[in-house]
């Protein structure tokens, strides 16, 4: 039933809006609620109780909001989920995704027991012939393979891959590979958002996501981010949004009508890849109109604004306070980036650009420019990330009340360092080049200023296939599914088929598991295991415990600690005792004992890691607890209040200032170029950037780099996340599909590509047609949806469906490997924002539409 139908034929839309905007008189008449009703005795409450059982604290990693939760447990069964209201980040506000956890933990397609492969041939359409085995046998086989690497003196040919994790991952992800002698701990981070951190780092020295002071802001510019739907602190934003809209002017810049765009005062549908142009033009307006923050960025010595379009300014005429290189940036770039110039690039009129920029400048220090991955996880997105973050610098809202701020550090302990448990082979092994080619000339991956400092996750498939830097013989992956979640996913099918021995620790038999030799059933992080996680939001940082609130439904174990302990025993039986020695060195902070079994090991690791939060003797900051039991019962630690402006003059950059001309980036790029005995210009060219010379060190305009020519592939693919994704792990939950149309433009129990009706008419595509999206690297089949929220020239599609494994709901036919819907990663090319190592998901390819 449509909204029009349900609202009634007589109430047309305009009437509906008029009624909704009318005065209260109408309601009072119809509701008859003006009188205080006579006092009566309330009827006696019926004799039954509700929500019997116990609410037990834990937390949710269904997205990167990482919220503290409580689970209602009755007779060992999880029945309901709610937010842990003790969190100062989200308080008593939850989200729709938390509830999907119930259909995850009780998913019938979870793996019950360890399994081994009986068909040695590996491929998408090969039946692995999985048969159940014991934990003992599984860990014995795994240990044999690792011992073999030791014997052959090639321990570096072992690789650990991580998807989602808890902060207990220090054991599995760091200590374990090091003790085994491998440099290869490969995280998913660069398919998550590394490019989003690039701008903040090379302007203000912060390689991280930002927090925002919504309570005190007057304007929010959401840039390629959808906070009431996905990404960080969704629960808090869901609660805060209504009040925010009353207090602040909210603008969404996004090449699709997102959930947040529909709840914003204005939507600027920027052309894909032109975010940098828009940001630079906004900077141009702020400077020419004289609206920058004098307090933060300084002023002309005589107070007269000399920022005039097209005209250079003498550096000595301007005195900066907490910034560096403003005039250089103006002269090199911003002076020419007029709103008229940007209008042609972005599709946003000069008038709108000027209006938004002026408003931003006028509201100044209480304005937030908030970027997600959209404008920067593009092949040439690194400098857009800088340009957008630079706007916060211009208006002085960085680290300021009502502005773009940071999180607090979480007091954490460490398990013993690996060094004492590493043999000579291991010490040599960990010094080898990592498998992901980070630091290669074409992959600077300048995490926190270091060449090769960050991961290049999606490159691993190519590296394995090319055996460059070497071949991988044994691999362990947990909570990851790169064969689904990485662009050009089919390369991972080839790569994983090539690895001789692969162990996958997961809750579900996923696309990646189909290539496994051993599949290990993992606990569900929210219900069945120990761990802890931290996150920021609402100007606070919290840290909460994952707790085993129910017994594992099946014979599942926690990969991060329990599996390591079990493996250590098997390795020791075979004469390699180093990992067991390490495990034994992890002592319970209370009793001093070593773990007698894997469950104790998980608990002790958690207590060690969180000790500075719960042990009064080690107290550092934030909430205080009387001890472990107190912390365990409350389940969440909160930081103290945010100290505004403490970073001013002490940013983590080379100059300590907020850099519009990034000496920090200059150092990093120069060091990378010197490492490869070449020039910065050559590095930029190698990394597909157009800029040469000084522009390499400032936020500047780059033309979008989009695969496929316009004549053959007329539409730009706009990929984005579903509000029900739980990071791609909820695709087997029936509720996911029952609610799918709560993603604006999507349909229940279907996977649609959204096309503007004008384009559809030109293409001869009708609503509901089965279509194939074809890009230069692949294709997917889905359903056409004609939707006005999709700008002409683009096709919008939610990521999340298209599984050919993962379960009976996620896959249309699990046994035949038939997908339900289409995986966006089948059309996205494996390309990168190379300076950060980030995978490019946005403005990265064009597609054409064919009838399927």
């Amino acid at each position: 039933m449509s909204l029009q139908e349900i609202l009634g034929s007589k109430i047309k839309r305009r009437t509906f809006l008029k009624i909704a905007g009318a005065t209260g008189a109408l309601a009072m008449v119809s509701a008859g609620c003006g009188q205080k009703r006579a006092e009566e005795e309330p009827p006696p409450a019926p004799q039954y109780s509700l929500e019997e059982g116990t609410w037990l604290p834990t937390g949710c990693e269904g997205c990167t909001s990482w919220c503290a939760k409580e689970v209602l447990v009755k007779d060992g069964r999880a029945v309901k989920i709610r937010p842990n209201a003790l969190s100062k980040v989200h308080g008593d506000s939850g989200c729709p995704r938390e509830h999907l956890g119930l259909q995850q933990v009780y998913d019938p397609d979870r793996i019950k027991v360890p399994m081994k492969r009986t068909n040695p041939k590996k491929g998408r359409y090969e039946d692995p012939g999985f048969v159940p085995i014991s934990w003992d046998e599984a860990m014995g086989i795994f240990a044999d393979k690792l011992i073999e690497l030791q014997k052959n003196a090639e321990p570096h040919k072992f690789m650990v891959m991580r998807g989602r994790y808890t902060q207990n991952n220090q054991v599995l992800y760091d200590r374990f590979p090091k003790i085994m002698g491998s440099p290869n701990n490969i995280s998913h981070s660069s398919i998550c958002a590394e490019a989003e951190k690039f701008g903040p780092y090379y302007t203000e020295g912060y390689w991280n996501y930002r927090d925002y002071d919504l309570d005190n802001t007057k304007m929010v510019v959401l840039w390629g981010v959808d906070p009431i739907s996905s990404n960080r602190q969704v629960s808090y934003y869901l609660k805060a949004w209504g009040d925010l809209l009353e207090r602040a002017y909210v603008v969404t810049i996004d090449p699709r009508l997102s959930a947040s765009a529909s709840k914003s005062h204005a939507w600027l549908p920027v052309k894909p890849g032109e975010d940098g142009a828009l940001a630079l033009a906004m900077a141009h307006v702020i400077l020419t109109e004289g609206l920058w923050s004098r307090e933060f960025a300084g002023d002309f010595k005589d107070g007269k604004n000399r920022f005039v379009a097209g005209k250079t300014v003498k550096e000595e005429d301007f005195e900066e306070t907490y910034t560096f290189g403003l005039v250089k940036w103006w002269n090199l770039e911003v002076k020419d980036r007029t709103p008229q110039w940007a209008a042609e690039k972005t599709g946003i009129s000069a008038e709108k650009i000027i209006n938004v920029a002026k408003r931003l400048g006028e509201l100044g220090t209480h304005a937030i420019v908030w970027q997600g991955g959209g404008p920067n996880m593009q092949v040439r997105g690194g400098y857009s990330s800088m340009a957008i973050q630079a706007l916060n610098g211009l208006v002085g809202s960085v680290d300021n009340v009502g502005g773009s701020i940071r999180g607090a550090s979480v007091p954490s302990g460490n398990v013993p360092a690996p060094d004492d448990f590493m043999n000579e082979l291991a010490k040599d092994g960990v010094r080898k080049q990592k498998i992901d080619q980070r630091g290669y000339k074409e992959f600077p991956a300048l995490n926190a200023g270091r060449s090769g400092g960050g991961v290049v996750t999606n490159r691993v498939a190519d590296a394995i296939l090319a055996e460059d830097p070497y071949d991988i013989k044994v691999a362990f992956g947990y909570w990851n599914n790169f064969n689904f979640s990485c662009p050009e996913a089919s390369r991972w099918d080839e790569a994983m088929a090539k690895i001789p021995f692969f162990v996958h620790a997961v809750t579900h038999a996923s696309e990646m598991s189909i290539f496994a030799d051993i599949v290990l059933p993992s606990t569900h992080h929210m219900f069945e295991q120990w761990g802890y996680m931290s996150q920021k939001g609402n100007t606070y940082t919290h840290a909460w415990l994952n707790q085993p609130v129910i017994d594992p439904v099946w014979d599942c174990k926690d990969p991060e600690t329990e599996m390591v302990w079990l493996l250590a025993q098997k390795l020791a039986e075979r004469g390699f005792t180093n990992l067991k020695d390490f495990c034994d060195a992890v002592k319970d902070p209370e009793s001093g004992a070593s773990a007698a079994n894997e469950k104790e090991f998980a608990l002790f690791c958690t207590k060690v890691r969180t000790r500075p939060m719960w042990d009064p003797a080690e107290y550092k900051a934030g909430d205080k607890f009387s001890g472990w039991e107190d912390f365990k019962t409350k389940g969440v630690w909160n930081s103290g209040e945010y100290p505004f402006k403490k970073l001013w003059g002490n940013f983590g950059t080379a100059t300590k200032q907020f850099e519009f001309y990034s000496e920090t980036l200059k150092n990093a790029l120069t060091a990378h170029a010197e490492k490869h005995k070449t020039t910065v210009d050559d590095i930029l060219a190698t990394c597909k950037y157009q800029a040469r010379g000084e522009k390499a060190f400032i936020p500047h305009y780059e033309e979008p780099y989009i695969w496929g020519n316009e004549s053959e592939y007329p539409l730009v693919m706009v990929d984005h996340k579903s509000r029900f994704n739980r990071e791609g792990r909820s695709a087997n939950a029936p509720w996911y599909y029952d609610l799918k149309d709560a993603d604006p433009g999507d349909e229940k129990w279907d996977d649609v590509a959204r096309i503007n009706p004008r384009d559809a008419a030109l293409l001869g595509v009708r609503n509901g047609d089965r279509i194939r999206l074809v890009s230069p690297v692949g294709s997917l089949v889905c359903t056409a949806k004609l939707w006005e929220g999709t700008p002409p020239g683009t096709v919008g599609k939610t990521f999340g469906q298209g599984h050919w494994a993962y379960g009976r709901v996620a896959a249309k036919d699990f046994k035949k490997r038939e997908a339900r819907g289409g995986n966006n990663n089948d059309v996205l090319p494996a390309d990168y924002e190379r300076l950060s190592g980030s995978t490019a998901f946005y403005a990265v390819t064009r597609v054409r539409v064919e009838k399927a």
């Binding site: 039933m1 909204l3 029009q4 349900i6 009634g8 109430i11 509906f16 809006l17 909704a20 905007g21 009318a22 209260g24 008189a25 109408l26 309601a27 119809s30 509701a31 609620c33 009188q35 205080k36 009703r37 409450a45 019926p46 039954y48 509700l50 069964r77 029945v79 309901k80 989200c95 729709p96 509830h99 999907l100 119930l102 009780y106 019938p108 979870r110 793996i111 019950k112 009431i228 869901l238 949004w241 209504g242 959930a259 765009a261 529909s262 709840k263 204005a266 439904v553 509000r723 029936p734 509720w735 029952d738 609610l739 709560a742 604006p744 006005e788 929220g789 002409p792 009976r808 046994k815």
Partner: protein, 234 residues
Amino acid sequence: MPNYAMVIDLHRCTGCGACVIGCKIENNTPEGIFWAHFVHETVGHFPDVRYTYVPTLCNHCVNAPCVEVCPVNPKAMYKADNGLTLHSTERCIGCRLCEKACPYGVISYNEEEPHRFWRDDTALISGGTATPKEVAERVGGTVLPYYNRDREATYKGIRPKNVVEKCTMCDHRIARGVDTYCNTVCPSKARFFGDLDDSDSEVSKLLRSHSSFRLKEETGTEPRVYYIRKYNPS
């Protein structure tokens, strides 16, 4: 007796769907059946286009067409003293007249044994993965592994085949002084339940301070679900 109503603040609503999933958990509703739901609409042409979302549920109408047409005596679909429109699974004969009479499409009929998904007893990987039935039995659920027993207090925990079912405004919860579950789980704090005859109730206050509208007012059903403010701020 109280005169119960719900007020939904569309300005605060974020269209997230938590109320819909929460309702499914509280009331053990089968796939495809929604007591709490939503309608959405995209109007205009790019770039002047709006997406609007309106949460829906049984309107517990004062003049409830579903009650009027119920042919059973005493009626299976009936008005309770507190203004709620309630349903008796025992008395229901499955004629579906109420479903047809409802102008809002919020009454659902169980054409088959509910929760076919969870009654299935096949495994994807023999010996390696479970079956739906096996999970529910192993953890002690009733058909559903996450089955909510609270629902049994005033209605069948899972309604049988060949009867209708609908929102009861969580009558089992409000009788104990606890808010409806759709309201409880609403992260945006956009939903309010209370007594219209109590001028101090939140719903009365909201209806005094805001203009409101109800769905299909022209049908004369006098819904007890009111909407205030607008979903789109622009």
